[in-house]
């Protein structure tokens, strides 16, 4: 009998690890692709940002609802000319290892960001800091930047042009402080010292990133969750299965093809919210057929039924877009063209008229390529748009699917492209960032749009101190751009997550930023 019990216990002990046991105190988050780096200044990409916001605290932060709130800085003040921002840090800030954290460390972070030796993808965000351009180009040393730590708790940032969204940008992980020890040599990818509500406990590449609460964080008392795990979930269908199996509390996204089924099955566990991203087709203006053919570009734009794409292709996980800059962005009104309200028949008739005016007909149809990179949703949208152009206009459309890096190169070269899939996702809640990439000199202006009037309006908006003037210039710029149609807006992104009911405090916001310190886990 006792031997039997022993065997049973042994078998049980052996079987125990076979059962996936959800530990209630741990928040497990699906994080999409594995971050390539957790260096706050070097890392790019959404998944690294999610982790970095837990590991580092910026001078400012974002509330669960998406508002800019004090973080490491308790207050800040603009100078009268709007070119100097002075921030006051909290008292007694410490790094995760207990070292005191000073204003100089924040200045060092920004210098490192703009130092060309760092080769940061986000350096441009802060190029408006005094001498930023020269430092980025290597003509001045990073120490020349307009950053001054007046004392341990006061940082002054001098600007070359007004930057009303600077406090918002300072919440970005790229503006994180850097510990002096991490400035020398190359620290191991998992050994950097942070100052956020959590510290990095383990980073098993492609397996999990484990964070534990940082006891030295100034507001640690308010942190509710002791351990957070970020799991790489590249395949959305696999992620969904892991969520269903109870292995994840939050997913990074959901597969759009299964949206209806997910709604039926999970109800309000699905969170869909406006996001700062615009999905559009670029038209290469430097080559035929689009060079100098505005009616054709407008015809192609009007021939697309955005409602069908948003509802039938993307199953309402996106908002139809007739304009470029997303709705919900701060200090901006979407510039929807009049024809967005037309009936389908009206719209298609006008598209056909413009198509004919552009010199095409059934006898001489437009032959055009749509280029997109490998992805299920890009493919589905391209197939549908090709069908719309064919059915409404009679155009002969070829789909060209390219692998990501090949696609990037072709898109940038503007030689082989005609119509191509494009996206812009903002780094901050500011319309200017969207407007800038269509400027004639911007490296991401893949359409080759070059219009002096547009450039001037965007430039004036950038120089404007008055928020209303800034807004007017930006809105006028988009109006003009939409009429020129160098791009065809298609839809606005939505953030989409499945969130378990036990996760408390989750709020949808336009940045799709969710600090783990603001969440709690409900007891079952």
């Amino acid at each position: 009998m006792r031997a039997g019990l022993k065997t049973a216990a042994l078998v049980l002990a052996l079987l125990l690890p076979l059962v996936a046991w959800p530990t209630p105190a741990v928040l497990t988050i699906g994080n999409g692709t594995e971050p390539e780096s957790l260096d706050p200044q070097k890392a790019t990409g959404v998944s690294a940002g999610n982790v970095l916001r837990d590991l580092y605290e910026g001078l400012t932060g974002v509330s669960p609802g998406g508002n800019i709130v004090p973080a490491a800085a308790e207050s800040w003040q603009w100078s009268d000319d709007g070119r100097r921002l002075q921030l006051r840090l909290r008292d007694g800030l410490r790094w995760a290892n207990g070292d005191p954290l000073t204003a100089e460390h924040y200045a060092a972070g920004l210098r490192r960001l703009l130092d060309p030796a760092t080769a940061s993808g986000y350096a441009n965000l802060f190029a408006a800091i005094e001498h930023g351009r020269e430092v980025l180009a290597g003509r001045l040393p990073p120490s020349a930047l307009g950053l001054r730590a007046e004392d341990a708790r006061t940082l002054t940032i001098g600007l070359e042009r007004p930057m009303p969204n600077l406090p918002a940008l300072l919440a970005h992980p790229a503006a994180s402080p850097i510990h002096p020890a991490d400035l020398v040599g190359d620290p191991k990818p998992d050994a950097r010292i942070g100052n956020g509500a959590y510290r990095l406990a383990e980073w098993a590449l492609q397996s999990r990133i484990t964070l534990l609460r940082n006891r030295n964080y100034w507001n640690d008392r308010q942190t509710a969750i002791g351990e957070v795990r970020y799991l790489p979930t590249e395949d959305l269908n696999s992620e969904l299965k892991r969520y269903r199996a109870g292995e994840l509390d939050v997913t990074t996204s959901v597969p759009s093809t299964q949206a209806d089924w997910i709604r039926r099955t999970f109800g309000n566990e699905l969170h869909v919210a406006t996001y700062l991203g615009s999905y559009f087709y670029g038209l290469n203006l430097t080559r035929p057929p689009f060079a100098g053919n505005k009616p054709l570009r407008q015809a192609l734009s009007m021939a697309i039924d955005r409602q069908v794409i948003a509802t039938k292709v993307l199953h309402a996980l996106a908002t139809p877009a007739w304009s470029y800059i997303p709705p919900g962005i701060r200090d901006y009104t979407p510039q929807v063209p009049g024809w967005a309200q037309w009936s389908r028949g009206q719209r298609e008739a006008e598209a056909q008229r413009l198509y004919a005016a552009a010199g095409y007909s059934a006898a001489k149809p437009l032959q055009v390529e749509i280029r997109y990179n490998t992805s299920d949703d890009h493919k589905r949208i391209a197939v549908v748009i090709a069908a719309m152009w064919k059915q409404v206009l009679g155009a002969e459309v070829t789909l060209v699917n390219e692998e990501w890096k090949v696609f990037l190169q072709h898109r940038r070269e503007r030689r082989d492209t005609q119509a191509f899939r494009n996206t812009w996702i903002a780094d901050s809640d500011d319309a200017l960032g969207f407007a800038e990439i269509l400027g004639s000199a911007h490296p991401r202006n893949d359409s080759g749009y070059a219009d002096a009037g547009y450039d001037a309006l965007v430039h004036e908006a950038g120089e404007a101190r008055d928020l209303r003037l800034r807004r007017e210039k930006l809105e006028a710029a988009e109006q003009q751009m939409l009429d020129d149609a160098p791009i065809v807006p298609i839809y606005f992104y939505a953030s989409k997550h499945l969130v378990k009911p036990r996760v408390d405090g989750w709020q949808d916001n336009i940045l799709d930023w969710h600090y783990s310190k603001d969440l709690r886990l409900r007891e079952r």
């Binding site: 076979l18 350096a123 590249e234 269908n237 299965k241 892991r242 890096k405 940038r412």
Partner: protein, 305 residues
Amino acid sequence: MLSRAAMRLLTALPTLLVLVALSFFLMHAAPGGPFDSERSLAPEIEARLAAHFHLDEPVWMQFGRYLGGLLHGDLGPSLQYEGRSVASLIADGAPVSAAVGAAALLLAIIGGVAIGAIAAMRRDGGLDRGLMLLALVGLSLPSYVVAPLLILVFALALDWLPAGGWDGPSSVLLPAVALALPQMAAVARLTRGALGDVLAAPWIRTARAKGLPERLIVFRHALKPALLPVVSWLGPAAAGLMTGSVVVEQVFGIPGIGRYFVQGALNRDYTLVLGVVLFYGALVIAFNFLVDLAYGALDPRARLE
């Protein structure tokens, strides 16, 4: 066979060199570079990065540099994962892939030989036909269909095993089964065929005439020679398991190195791709060498050759 094994060792180095050279030049000929991204870098910064990794040199010079590094056992830094060496990535991922691969191989051999033996003993009976049809189906099902089905049944419906990730021994089972199924089918077919031939041989008939029970005949006398084709199958099977691991690691979200290859190729992480190819190449060669040795041990005739 032994001489063949020796030849294998001799040709291992040139083989690996061909392998590295082919992969190197193919990778570098592909359009796009490691630092292209949606948010394109400023040209000066990109140039600086390229110079740091010597990507601004002519390709043949980079190749020389890479070979030089190899001589010192240095696989170089990963271009994609900041601050990590290719060697460390492979060192982290290889045990994971090896665990799944070994489990799959074991499953395939044990399951396959058992099924094949049963079928051979009931040759041309209903059971034999049924099992062989199943084996054919197993050979014909792509693993990216089998894997999600396994997850649906064992992780979601029955809740026995995790749906993905790498968290303890329970994470090995489902991927290993998904990986093993087609190989198990192949082993079953091989075993059944070879065992069938052996069982029809005169010396087995002698054993039967002496009144030995059938089970004993099969397992004590017939199985060993019948396993020869299974042993020579092991070489190609190792390659098959590696290919399969690319799919299985992706579907189950396992941190193995099969995924690194595809990701590295797509991200133009030249050093990572080369490292993985080299590692796999060396593994296949080592495996074939062992298979040759095993073959010699099992088949006395081969030793004389």
